[in-house]
């Protein structure tokens, strides 16, 4: 830009006879403009020239247009400096490639969430089962050609369409095996559909019932969320809701137990000397007395109880961890020692990978 300005000045000095001033592309500004070329945006932080803008209608319009012209000139200079090429051959229009917009604007919708795993996917992850890749085409020996592994015209013929069926040993000879097969298939399809719908419902429930931001305007607020919001609003007064009138049918709640529930009260600085003297004497008496200050039995009991509680908590944590790590590790000691060892040697990598995945989730 600066170079361009200098060139212009030089030209103006060289040819004073020409009308250079109105044709100039030079613009002087006190503060530099900010540009966001991805949005074709320019921000001029200079205060606008007040004298012209405070004038009457036409004068103001002229001043505004002059200001806009200067700013547009600067923006156009930036845009023309971008790398440009001719679109569609040498005769095509000049096309400048814009950079990414840098001005941060809010999104329209929150970013898409990944689909929650189905029940099978959860189970497979827990067990470390991974999808095996199988080719979709297999060689059919009878037909002597490549056929689908599954579906219409599958390799080996569709067993459901076979014209001959063996009656299994111990089966009722009068029973229609074909009908039985059809029935089984129908049941399998129905069960699959049912599970699919159950997974959909579960995913929907998971996406709607997010308890984290109860006070954000989420799509649909449930009864519990609204209740929580009302409870929070109730105690959000200066007096922590003490003087808040109850709404009709609002459940009576006990005041929350905790540190915040009790207000500290201080003794008055002056007055009640007798009580103060009494307290001091009590303290001196306690210090002088032979009786031990610590009640040994109570203290021992307390210690025992705490240890018990800690042990219980640790146990609970362990169980949780076991759930996360998967059950295979747990089952190992139950099998024969040597066998389990062999297994471990067989699939060390698989175990590690699945373990890592579980940690992530």
């Amino acid at each position: 830009m600066a170079a361009a300005v200098r060139v212009e000045e030089l030209l103006a000095a060289a040819a004073p006879g020409e009308r250079e001033a109105p044709r100039s592309v030079a613009v002087e500004k006190e503060l530099e403009l900010e540009f966001d070329l991805g949005n074709l945006l320019a921000l001029d932080p200079n205060p606008p020239p007040a004298a012209g803008l405070r004038g009457a209608g036409p004068r103001r319009e002229a001043a505004l247009r002059a200001l806009a012209r200067d700013n547009a000139q600067l923006l156009v200079a930036q845009l023309w400096a971008l790398p440009a090429e001719r679109a569609g051959g040498a005769a095509g229009p000049l096309v400048a490639s814009l950079p990414e917009p840098s001005c941060r604007l809010p999104r329209e919708k929150p970013p898409p969430k990944p689909r929650p795993p189905t029940r099978w996917e959860q189970f497979a992850r827990l067990k470390g089962i991974r999808r095996r890749k199988r080719t979709s085409l297999v060689w059919d020996e009878q037909a002597k050609e490549w056929r689908r592994r599954w579906g219409y015209r599958r390799a080996g013929g569709d067993p459901a369409r076979s014209w001959l069926l063996e009656v299994p040993a111990g089966a009722d000879p009068e029973e229609d095996q074909f009908a039985k097969k059809r029935q089984e298939k129908r049941e399998r399809v129905a069960r699959n559909e049912f599970n699919r719908l159950r997974n959909l419902a579960r995913a929907h429930r998971a996406s709607t019932a997010i308890p984290a931001p109860p006070l954000h305007p989420t799509g649909h607020q449930s009864r519990q969320e609204l209740g929580l919001a009302a409870r929070v609003a109730r105690v959000s007064t200066a007096s922590l809701g003490r003087f808040q009138p109850r709404l009709p049918k609002e459940p009576v709640e006990l005041p929350p137990r905790g540190r915040c529930s009790k207000k500290r009260r201080f003794e008055p600085v002056l007055g009640d000397l007798a009580a103060e003297r009494g307290r001091q004497l009590e303290l001196l008496k306690a210090m002088n007395s032979k009786k031990p200050a610590l009640d040994i039995t109570r203290a021992v009991n307390k210690q025992l109880r705490e240890e018990d509680a800690e042990a219980a908590a640790a146990k609970g944590k362990k169980q949780k961890q076991r759930g996360k790590r998967g059950r295979r590790q747990q089952q190992r000691p139950a099998r024969g020692g040597r066998k389990s060892g062999a297994r471990r040697q067989q699939r060390p990598a698989g175990g590690n990978i699945t373990g890592g995945k579980r940690k992530k989730a």
């Binding site: 361009a4 060139v7 212009e8 044709r23 100039s24 592309v25 991805g38 949005n39 074709l40 945006l41 320019a42 921000l43 001029d44 932080p45 200079n46 205060p47 606008p48 007040a50 803008l53 405070r54 319009e61 505004l64 247009r65 200001l67 806009a68 012209r69 700013n71 547009a72 000139q73 923006l75 156009v76 200079a77 845009l79 023309w80 440009a84 679109a87 229009p93 000049l94 096309v95 400048a96 490639s97 814009l98 917009p101 001005c103 941060r104 604007l105 809010p106 999104r107 329209e108 919708k109 929150p110 970013p111 898409p112 959909l200 929907h204 954000h216 305007p217 989420t218 799509g219 649909h220």
Partner: protein, 306 residues
């Protein structure tokens, strides 16, 4: 509201595509604007809505009938419209004694009102009133904001952001330079915001950059700010959040200094000096007998003196 809130299962492919177009995406669709006429709207406000519609055109919906609602008091109907027409920007126009010639400009996040700013129209010149050649429909405008108020005042800063969001149109990777025809200029001075729309005339200047001349095409508005409803910091932050997949991946071992020079960091193995090739001498060359002895596996005999 309930009918729109439930899980909609498409029955046809077409319906499925329609719903997919509206789903949240990583790189989002261009924001659409809905221009809503309030319960009482006079001629000025109606004209303003029409003109802004003309400026925004492929990405706007004009609600021409009366909509008796007050966005600052009850936002539910706006949210309903937003969901119905999949618009996240809105401009609501109304006129009454207390707030004559009123415009409410705002935007939505997740079909809920994020920001809303009320503007009063002091002066208005319509697109029709200026007899000039207009810009073609759907021209991406150049946006210019002038005035220190847009930097200093929080409300003005948010208004600036909102106006950029409203008028910027689609994000494009490249643009035809001769097609830069439209300038929207916003000036803030003395509590007023002057919105002007100009057509750009590119003149020869003798150098590569053309000389710019501007021609007023309208609509031009003189606005004053009235009530505001800005998003809380939490919500605004939430709406600004970029998905991880869109963030550019950091390249390892590359750094830049202040001058823009690129530096690369190379991690090398430790050099094995025993295999270093020094100067070749004929005298140090292994004889063929020695070579075969080494390859055979038997180590060469050590001198006894050692």
């Amino acid at each position: 509201m309930d009918a729109l809130g439930r899980v909609v299962k498409p029955k046809t492919k077409r319906a499925k595509r329609f719903l997919e177009r509206r789903e949240p995406k990583l790189t989002e669709n261009t924001k659409n604007a809905m221009l809503i006429k309030g319960g009482n709207a006079n001629l000025t406000v109606t004209e303003v809505l029409k003109d802004i519609y003309a400026v925004k055109k492929p990405f706007a919906v004009l609600y021409k009938k009366k909509n008796i609602t007050r966005p600052f008091e009850d936002q539910t109907s706006l949210e309903f419209f937003s969901k119905k027409s999949d618009c996240s920007l809105f401009l609501f126009g109304s006129h009454n004694k207390k707030r004559p010639n009123n415009l409410i400009i705002g935007r939505m996040f997740d079909y809920h009102v994020l920001d809303m700013i009320e503007l009063g129209i002091e002066n208005f010149v319509s697109l029709k009133d200026v007899k000039n050649n207009k810009c073609p429909e759907g021209t991406k405008p150049m946006l210019i904001f002038a005035g220190d108020m847009f930097e200093l005042n929080e409300e003005y800063r948010r208004l600036k952001n909102l106006l950029i969001d409203f008028f910027r149109g689609p994000t494009v990777p490249s643009i035809r330079l001769a097609g830069l025809e439209h300038v929207l200029h916003f000036t803030a001075l003395d509590g007023k915001i002057y919105m002007r729309s100009y057509k750009v005339l590119l003149k020869k200047s003798g150098c590569k950059i053309p000389r710019i001349e501007l021609e007023d095409i309208g609509p031009s508005l003189d606005l004053v700010m009235r009530r505001t409803h800005l998003a809380s910091d939490d919500l605004y932050k939430l709406s600004l959040k970029q998905p991880k997949a869109l963030k550019p991946k950091k390249k390892k071992n590359i750094s830049h200094d202040v001058f823009g020079t690129t530096y690369g960091r190379i991690h090398m193995q430790k050099q094995d000096l025993s295999k270093l090739q020094t100067r070749k001498l004929k005298g140090l060359k292994k004889r063929p007998a020695e070579k075969s002895a080494q390859d055979g596996g038997s180590s060469p005999k050590k001198p006894k003196s050692a």
